[in-house]
């Protein structure tokens, strides 16, 4: 097994470590599907996965997934049902952790996946919320994954599809009636940001091997607050890489050798 890995493979490994054993995870799409599979096969054998189209699983699918609705993700499911039943669990606060992809994120963890520019005639129309807003508001905590680019990590998003910690003031989510605890981390191709418990501003927690704090600052659209315990991100272990490459043969999602 090569000890070289792609940025996406590292993101998957980092995301997998966010999943604690026994947790109910609202998985979503793309890299988080791999992250759930890695966690389940390594440190979190009792983690269960919920998929919004109406599925509950306790093991990763046995074949490559292009979407959560591919037949291998339905085979050996624990529950195949309607979306509103899955949303019932989310609305009760039963989902410990959710994953959301984002086009833009700001320093308070608010995500935009809807409009760049004014909604009536946007400069870029992005696909929309999907289940992102639901996870952001209702899951107990959530993590977002995205490419680290200055145009994506912006001072304030122009449109909040999926609310994070709002304006960053303490208790913003509680005051606005949001059920869950909000974003716990932003995982990028360069680094990991974490949010203080109770909300507020993202702090740079770890920088991926081969990158520097200065580089992260230069590629981030807000003045980066560096945690006093900021360190290097632990690279993927051989075990994590083996699982990632088993789940993504050909490297469709991670660009890895698969």
């Amino acid at each position: 097994m090569s000890d070289r890995y792609t940025p996406q493979e590292l993101m998957v490994a980092v995301a997998a470590r966010e999943i604690a054993d026994g947790e109910l995870v609202f998985v979503g799409m793309r890299l988080p599907v791999l992250a759930y599979g890695v966690a389940r096969s390594t440190h979190a054998p009792n983690a269960r996965a919920l998929f919004e189209l109406g599925l509950l699983r306790d093991q990763p699918a046995e074949a490559f997934l292009g979407t959560m609705g591919d037949p291998p993700n339905v085979a050996r499911a624990l529950w195949a049902t309607r979306m509103s039943n899955v949303m019932a669990l989310l609305a009760q606060g039963a989902a410990d952790l959710g994953f959301i992809g984002g086009a833009e994120v700001d320093r308070f963890g608010n995500l935009n996946t809807s409009y760049i520019g004014p909604p009536p005639r946007p400069r870029v129309k992005l696909p929309g919320s999907g289940g992102g807003a639901d996870i952001a508001i209702l899951a107990r905590r959530w993590v977002t994954l995205m490419n680290h680019e200055k145009r994506r990590l912006v001072e304030r998003v122009s449109y909040v599809t999926s609310p994070g910690h709002g304006d960053g003031t303490a208790g913003w989510r509680t005051r606005h009636g949001l059920l869950g605890g909000g974003p716990a981390a932003i995982v990028t191709t360069l680094a990991v940001f974490r949010f203080p418990p109770g909300g507020g501003e993202a702090e740079l927690a770890t920088v991926h091997p081969g990158h520097t704090v200065e580089e992260v600052k230069a590629e981030t659209g807000w003045p980066v607050k560096v945690s006093s315990v900021c360190r290097e991100t632990a690279p993927p272990t051989a075990g994590e890489l083996a699982q990632i490459r088993r789940l993504d043969p050909g490297g469709f999602w991670t660009g890895g050798p698969g």
Partner: protein, 289 residues
């Protein structure tokens, strides 16, 4: 299919489609809508894979009420972008939802309720750009969305409109119950004794169903549990072709306008996409005395 679409889906209809999210998308029905030149449609759906993008690109759509429109494995919907950003081939009105809120909007219509209250979308800007979502006293009121017609693709149905569907159902039940009428497309047309042997699995009341269309392979490139794998390559090809308006026009001509029906379309599809490894469930006992 031709007759079902021509009789039951006039111009200006509000149509729920793609209600299972990524699987069981009635692509064949959507392509027939395009061939018949439908105009001013309102599309209703949750995460909506490439079918909505194709209908928008073909100029059939006036309004989209959905949680997500794009290409699930590839990302952006290029026709959706051109319509929203440039008004090409025509401007569209967009009413954004989340997956949860579009489900609630359809349940509200199904139950004939004025609205359903939820905490989802609190703190989001989505209600500010959709008049069907009203923030009031710490709740979001989701107003009903009522389709004229729901077009659904199921594994099997009988000629009287009793459908058996399995796998994740997404928002299919609320869409079917909320709609005035349902068009069923089915992989297998079966005798009533098959569907009636398992009434718990019957998807919707037959009273809603106005047409049953036997359309094998009607979901390609979307998958159908027990029958078809997802065609990832076709999704990639569509994403690349639709990047420009000209590329989309070429794609549309080749795969929709110059393809008379689904049977001819299927001749061009890789036969390896058919699922051959079956896994049947155990029968259940409806015994009585």
């Amino acid at each position: 299919m031709r007759e079902a679409v021509s009789r039951f889906v006039p111009d200006g209809s509000t149509i729920a489609m793609g209600t299972c999210l990524e699987p069981a998308i009635p692509f064949a029905a959507g392509h027939e809508l395009i061939r018949q030149g439908r105009r001013d449609l309102t599309l209703v759906g949750p995460i909506s894979d490439a079918l909505f993008d194709q209908l928008i690109g073909a100029g059939c759509v006036a309004r989209v009420i959905a949680a997500w429109v794009g290409n699930v494995s590839e990302g952006l919907g290029h026709c959706y972008r051109r319509a929203a950003e440039l008004g090409q081939p025509r401007a569209i009105e967009i009413r954004d939802h989340s997956n949860f809120s579009i489900s609630l909007a359809l349940w509200a219509a199904a139950w004939n309720a004025p609205f359903l209250p939820t905490r989802t979308l609190l703190g989001s800007d989505i209600p500010s750009s959709n008049p069907d979502l009203v923030v009031d006293d710490g709740w979001v009121r989701v107003l009903p969305v009522k389709p004229d017609v729901a077009i659904l693709h199921v594994q099997r149905a009988d000629a009287s409109g009793r459908a058996h569907a399995w796998g994740p159902l997404g928002i299919t039940e609320e869409a079917g119950l909320a709609a005035d009428r349902v068009i069923l497309c089915c992989e297998e047309l079966v005798d009533a004794e098959v569907t009636l042997s398992d009434p718990n699995r019957i998807l919707l009341p037959e009273t809603k169903v106005v047409a049953v269309v036997h359309e094998p392979g009607g979901t390609h490139p979307a998958p159908l549990q027990g029958f078809w794998k997802r065609d990832h390559a076709a999704h990639r090809e569509y994403a690349q072709s639709s990047r420009t308006a000209e590329g989309f026009e070429r794609w549309l001509r080749e795969w929709v306008l110059d393809t008379p029906d689904r049977a001819s379309y299927l001749k061009r599809i890789d036969p390896a996409l058919r699922i051959t490894r079956h896994a049947f469930s155990a029968p259940v006992d409806y015994g009585d005395e």
